[in-house]
Symmetry: C2
DNA sequence: CTGTTAGCGCTTTCAA
DNA sequence: TTGAAAGCGCTAACAG
C-alpha cells in the first residue's frame, strides 16, 4: 500500500521499536546504549527494560555509518610460524574483546601474486579503525606505504626497521640473547657455539649481537669455529650443528638462535652419541611448542607474544581514543616488552671433558 | 553557512563525487560498482574513469546498512592447537578473499567466565553474514543454540555430534586410522599397540574404532596389553608408551592417536634403548609441525585442515548466495574430506625379534 | 534531561 | 538505459 512499507531487513527490533516501547525518543535510547550521562535514572531503566523485552541489539553497520568508525581492527598477517600466529591471536583477541573491538584477519601473503597492489584498496574499503602489523609484514614497504596512504592508525610488532612516527612494540632480542649467553657462562661453559639465523631477519642479527656482546664481556675472543650459519629451519640447524660438533675442541654448549634449529642440534648431538645435557648443552630461542615436545625439553628464551599482541591492541585503542576525543598529548611511540629465559632440561654445567 | 555542512567523515570520495565527476547519477555509479547489466558501455567507462581519477572506494558500512549484509564471516574459535588454527586461517583466508568476504576471528574460550552467555549478544550485534565453527566450539551446545537463535547461517568443521540441518565438513578419522593400521599390518607388524585419546573427544573415539576394525579384519584378537589410555598430551603419551613397552612380549609398533603422544612414544622408545624404527615403529595422527621437527621424522596421518577450512568457507558462501538469490534447491549438508598417510622415517618392517 | 532534525553513503523501488 | 526519491538504523547538533 504505502510506498514506505519496505521489507524490514533487520532480523530483530530497531532503535525505533525500543523507543516506542519505552515511550521515549530514539535519541534517548541511543544515549542509554552509549552510557552517556544526562539521562534520568528512571528513564534509563525504562529503556533498558524495553531493550531487554524486545531483545534488541544495535546494528553495527548503521552505527559505523553514523559515527564513521567501525570498531574493526585489521590484523595484517603473512603466515608466520603456527605458534606465533596462535599466540598473537590469543593476546590480541583477549584485549579486543575488552576494548570492544573485533579483529579481522587479513592475509598479506604470497598466496596471491598481486597482493601488494591490492592491499591499498583493501585497507580503504574495509573501513578498519586501525591495523596491527606483526612481522614479517611490518617491514614490508608496500604495506607501510598503503597504510600511510590510507592514513590508517597502526601499531607494528617487533619491526626490524624504525620508521618515524610509526608506533611499535619492541622485543629485546639483543638483551635476551645476551642474558642467555651469560647464563651459559655462569654454568661454566666457555666454548659456547652460536647458530645464526638469516641475515635478512632483524631479530636474527640482534640475537647474534647479544651473543657477541656477552662473549666479549666475558673476555672471550670471537672464534669462527664457534659460529655457524643457519636459516631458522630444522634442516639448516642439522647441518650447522654437525659442522660445530666436528670442530676440535668441540663446543660444550650450542646456542641456536631459534628453537627449530636447537631441536635439530639436539638430534645431531644424539647422532654424535652425545648425551644432552651431560656432554652437550643446547639452548634455543622462542619457546615454541616443539621446545617441550622433545626430550630433553629445551632451555630457551620465551618472548611473550600474547602480551605483545595485547599491548599492541591497547596501544592502538589508546590512539584511536585520542583521535576520537581530539586529545592533544602525544601517545607513546614505542613500548619494549621483556622476555625471559626458561630453563628446562637441555642445559647443565659442562661435563669433566669440557671444563 | 548552511546547516547542511557537516564535516565529511569519509576519508576519500563518495559515490556522489564520482557521479558528479562522471556526469551521471549516483545510481548509475552504483550499477557500475556492482557490475549490473543495463548500463551503456560508454557510460560504464566514463564512470570507471571517474572512480579511478578520484581514487574512490565504496564505504562498506553504508553498503552493509543498505543491503543488510556485511560480507563479514565470523570464525568462532577456542584456542585449539597452534598448528590447527594456523592451517585453518590459511585455508579460510584464501577462500574468503576470493569470495569477497572478510574473516573476523572471535574467541569463544575460557578467557572469560561468561562467554557462553555473551556469545548470543555478540553474534547478533556483529552482523556477520555467517559463521564458521571449528572444533571444539562446534560441539558447544550454548554456541549452537545462540547461532540458531540468531538464525545465522553456519558451517561446522568436523563436529562430533550430528545435528539436523546443520551443515558440516567431515573428516574421515575412522577410515584414516583403519588405513594406517592396515599399513602397519602390511609392513608385517602383528603386535600393534594403540594409544587412545580422551574419550570425550569424538575424533579420538573414531580413531580407536578404525584401529579396532583393521585389527579385527586381520583376524587379530583384541589384546588389552596393546591398548593404553592417553590424553592427547605429550606427558600422557610418555606414560602410555612406558606401560606398553614394559608389556611382554612388547609391541613392535605403536600407533599413537595424535602426534604429541607419538613424539612422546619415540622419546620413551629411546629411553628404553630401542632404535626407531628398527626396534620399534611409531606412528601418529595429525601431521603437526612437531612431526617433522623430531628425529626420526614421524610417519603420521595428515588431515588437510586448510582444505577443510577452504571448503567450509565455500559451503557457507554458497549458502549465503542461495539465501540472497532466494534459490530453492537445497545445498549439500555434508562434505567429507579425505586424509592421507604420510610415510616418514619412524616406521619400518619389524626387526627379527618382532617377526 | 529530552526531543527534533538532518544527515552518514549506499541501494532499492519505481518511474521515465 | 537512466534518474529521483525514499529509506537502511543510527547518531551529531541543536533547541527546548
Amino acid at each position: 500500500m504505502s510506498v514506505k512499507t519496505r521489507a524490514n531487513k533487520q532480523t530483530g527490533a530497531t532503535i525505533k521499536d525500543v523507543a516506542q516501547h519505552a515511550g521515549v525518543s530514539a535519541m534517548t535510547v541511543s544515549r542509554v546504549l552509549n552510557a552517556e550521562p544526562n539521562v534520568r535514572e528512571e528513564t534509563r531503566e525504562r529503556v533498558q527494560a524495553a531493550i531487554r523485552e524486545l531483545n534488541y541489539r544495535p546494528n553495527l553497520s548503521a552505527r559505523s555509518l553514523a559515527r564513521a568508525n567501525t570498531y574493526f581492527i585489521g590484523l595484517l598477517y603473512d603466515n608466520p610460524s603456527a605458534g606465533y600466529i596462535s599466540e598473537l591471536l590469543i593476546g590480541a583477541l583477549n584485549r579486543c574483546r575488552k576494548a570492544g573491538y573485533h579483529l579481522v584477519v587479513e592475509s598479506c601473503g604470497a598466496a596471491e601474486q598481486d597482493w601488494e597492489s591490492a592491499i591499498g584498496d583493501m585497507l580503504r574499503t574495509s573501513n578498519f579503525d586501525g591495523v596491527i602489523i606483526p612481522p614479517p609484514v611490518c617491514d614490508n614497504a608496500a604495506v607501510l606505504a598503503a597504510v600511510e596512504a590510507a592514513s590508517l592508525p597502526h601499531v607494528r610488532i617487533s619491526p626490524d626497521l624504525e620508521k618515524a612516527g610509526s608506533p611499535r612494540i619492541e622485543t629485546d632480542d639483543r638483551a635476551a640473547a645476551r642474558r642467555m649467553t651469560e647464563y651459559l657462562l655462569e654454568l661454566g661453559h666457555r666454548r659456547i657455539a652460536f647458530i645464526r639465523g638469516p641475515e635478512s631477519h632483524g631479530a636474527s642479527r640482534k640475537r647474534f649481537e647479544g651473543y657477541c656482546q656477552a662473549m666479549e664481556a666475558a673476555g672471550l675472543a670471537r672464534d669462527p669455529d664457534l659460529i655457524a650459519e643457519g636459516e631458522f629451519t630444522y634442516r639448516s640447524g642439522l647441518e650447522a650443528a654437525d659442522t660445530l660438533l666436528k670442530s676440535d675442541p668441540r663446543p660444550t654448549a650450542i646456542f641456536a638462535s631459534n628453537d627449530d634449529m636447537a631441536v635439530a642440534a639436539i638430534a645431531m648431538g644424539h647422532r654424535h652419541h652425545l648425551d644432552i645435557p651431560t656432554d652437550l648443552t643446547v639452548v634455543g630461542f622462542d619457546d615454541t611448542q616443539t621446545a617441550t615436545a622433545i626430550w630433553p625439553q629445551l632451555t630457551t628464551v620465551r618472548q611473550p607474544i600474547a602480551t605483545m599482541a595485547a599491548q599492541a591492541v591497547d596501544m592502538l585503542a589508546d590512539r584511536l581514543d585520542r583521535i576520537r576525543t581530539g586529545e592533544a598529548g602525544e601517545a607513546s611511540l614505542c613500548q619494549e616488552i621483556g622476555s625471559e629465559i626458561i630453563v628446562r632440561d637441555s642445559s647443565a654445567a659442562p661435563g669433566p671433558a669440557g671444563r
